[in-house]
Amino acid sequence: MKVLFHIGRYFLLLRDTFSRPEKRRLYWQRTLEEMDLLGVQSLGIVALLSFFMGAVITIQTKTNIDSPLIQGWVVGFATRQSTILEFSPTIISLILAGKVGSNIAAEIGSMRVKEQIDALDIMGVNSAGYLILPKILGTMLFNPFLIMFSMFLSIFGGYLAGVGTGIVSTEDYLQGIQMNFNTYHVTYALIKTVVFAFIIATVSAYQGYYTVGGTREVGISSTLAVVYSNVVILIVNYALTQLLLI
C-alpha cells in the first residue's frame, strides 16, 4: 500500500510540476542555471570515468579474447559497442544519479525543512513547477551532450590504452570502431539517456520535496533519491532494451 501511495503522490507532483508556469522567461533562465549546475559541472567526473572505463574495457576485452582465431579489430568493435550500448548511457546515468540526484534531493529537501517551499506556496508560486521543472528540463537537455562526450572519451581512452600498451594496432582499433556501425544504436542510447535524466530529476526531486524533519532527514532523502533512481533506471533500462533493441 505504501508503494502505491508513493507512486500516486509522485504522479500528483508531476502534474503540479508540469502545470502552467507563472513566467516562462524566469523558468527558462532557471533551466539554464540548472544546466550549468547539474550538467556542465558534471563534465569533469564524466570525462574521468569515461576515459578510464574505455581503457579498461579495451584491455579486458583483449585479455579475454586473446586467441589467434579472433581478428584484431574485435577489440575496437567490442569497446565501441559496450560504450555506446551500455556503458555511456546506463553506467554514466547511474553515476549521475549519485551526483546530480543527491544534489537535487538535498537542495529541495533543505528548502523544505527551512520552510522556503512553504514561503513559495504562500506567495502563490507553484513551488513544484518553479523548483523541479527547470531541473527536469536542464538534465533532459544537457545529459545527451554529456553522454555523447562520454562515448567519445571512452572510445578514445580505449584507443590510447590499447595502442599505448601495444595490445592492439591503430589500424585494427580504427577498423573495429567503424565495423558494422549502426547509427540506430546511438539513437537508442540517447533515448535511454533522456528517459534516465527524467527519472533522476523527478525521483530525486520527489524525495527532496516531501522531506519531513530536519538535517538528518535531508540526508536520508538524499540517500533514498540515489537508491530509488538507480533501481528505477535499472528496471527501465531492461524495459527499454527489450522494447527498442529486440
Binding site: K114, A119, I122, G124, N126
Partner: protein, 252 residues
C-alpha cells in the same frame, strides 16, 4: 477580514484542532497565542492553506478559501505576506533579490522599478546598504526584517507572522513588534501573529485568541487579558517571572 468557522484538523489519529471559530480583523494586529504544541501554528497553516482542515472553512473577505479553484487560491495567496519563524529567505539569493522575488514572479514591472520598490521596502525595515549580502551573512534580527520587507513587497492585504520574535534578544524583539504594528497601521493589513511571547502580546496585541489543547479557549483584548479569570489562560500569561511581578504590582 479573515474568518475561521468550525475548523478542525487531524494528523492520523491525533486531533490537533477542534472546532475553531474566530474573526481576524482588518487593520489590527490579531494574535494567536498558546503554549508550544497547542496547535496555533497548525491553525495558521490551515488559514494560509498549507494544511487542509478536515472540518470547517476559512473565509477571505467572505469567500471560502478551500472551495476556491487553484487559480483563485493563487490570487488570494498573492495578497498574503508571511514572515516565517526561521525567516525562510532563499539562501541562494541576495537580500535585494529576496525582496524582489515576489515582484519578479508576479508583477509586470521593469527591473529598475522592482529594485526601487525593493529598496523602499528594505528602507522601511531599516535595512540599508545590505543589498548584496546573502541571508547567511545577516544576524537573526536582520533576517527577520528582510523577511518583513519581502512580505510587504507586493502591498499585501494579509500579513502572517509565525513566531516573529523566536531566537531574538528582547531589544530586537521590540523592534520587530513595532515594525509589525507600524506596517499593519500603514498598509491596513489583516495581520495575524502567532506567538507565545507575552511581551509581544502586551505591546501589540489588539485581538488575542488563546488556543489550548487544540481549542479556542479565550478571545479578547490585551486589557481584558490581564483581568481574565480563565485558569488556563492565567497559567499561560503569568508563567514568566516578569508577568508575575506585573500581576503583583497591579494587585491582581
Amino acid at each position: 477580514m479573515i474568518e475561521v468557522v468550525g475548523v478542525g484538523k487531524r494528523f492520523g489519529s491525533t486531533q490537533v484542532l477542534t472546532d475553531i471559530n474566530a474573526v481576524f480583523q482588518k487593520g489590527k494586529v490579531n494574535q494567536i497565542i498558546g503554549k508550544s504544541g497547542s496547535g496555533k501554528s497548525v491553525l495558521a497553516k490551515c488559514i494560509v492553506g498549507l494544511h487542509k482542515p478536515e472540518e470547517g472553512k476559512v473565509f477571505y473577505e467572505g469567500s471560502s478559501f478551500h472551495d476556491m479553484d487553484r487559480d483563485e487560491k493563487r490570487q488570494v495567496r498573492q495578497e498574503i505576506g508571511m514572515l516565517f519563524q526561521g525567516s525562510a529567505l532563499f539562501d541562494s539569493l541576495s537580500v535585494l533579490e529576496n525582496v524582489m522575488f515576489p515582484m519578479k514572479m508576479f508583477a509586470s514591472m521593469a527591473k529598475s522599478e522592482m529594485e526601487d520598490r525593493a529598496h523602499t521596502c528594505l528602507k522601511r525595515v531599516n535595512i540599508i546598504d545590505k543589498d548584496k549580502l546573502f541571508p547567511a551573512e545577516l544576524s537573526g534580527g536582520m533576517q527577520k526584517r528582510v523577511g518583513i520587507a519581502r512580505a510587504i513587497a507586493m502591498d499585501p492585504k494579509y500579513l502572517f507572522c509565525d513566531e516573529p520574535n523566536s531566537g531574538l534578544d528582547p531589544q530586537t524583539s521590540i523592534v520587530i513588534d513595532d515594525l509589525i504594528k507600524e506596517i499593519t497601521d500603514e498598509f491596513k493589513t489583516t495581520t495575524i501573529v502567532i506567538t507565545h511571547d507575552m511581551n509581544s502580546v502586551m505591546e501589540t496585541g489588539e485581538n488575542i485568541i488563546f488556543i489550548h489543547k487544540g481549542r479556542k479557549w479565550w478571545q479578547g483584548t490585551r486589557e481584558e487579558l490581564l483581568g481574565s479569570t480563565n485558569t488556563e489562560l492565567n497559567e499561560f500569561v503569568f508563567a514568566s517571572a516578569l508577568m508575575r511581578q506585573a500581576k503583583k504590582a497591579m494587585g491582581l
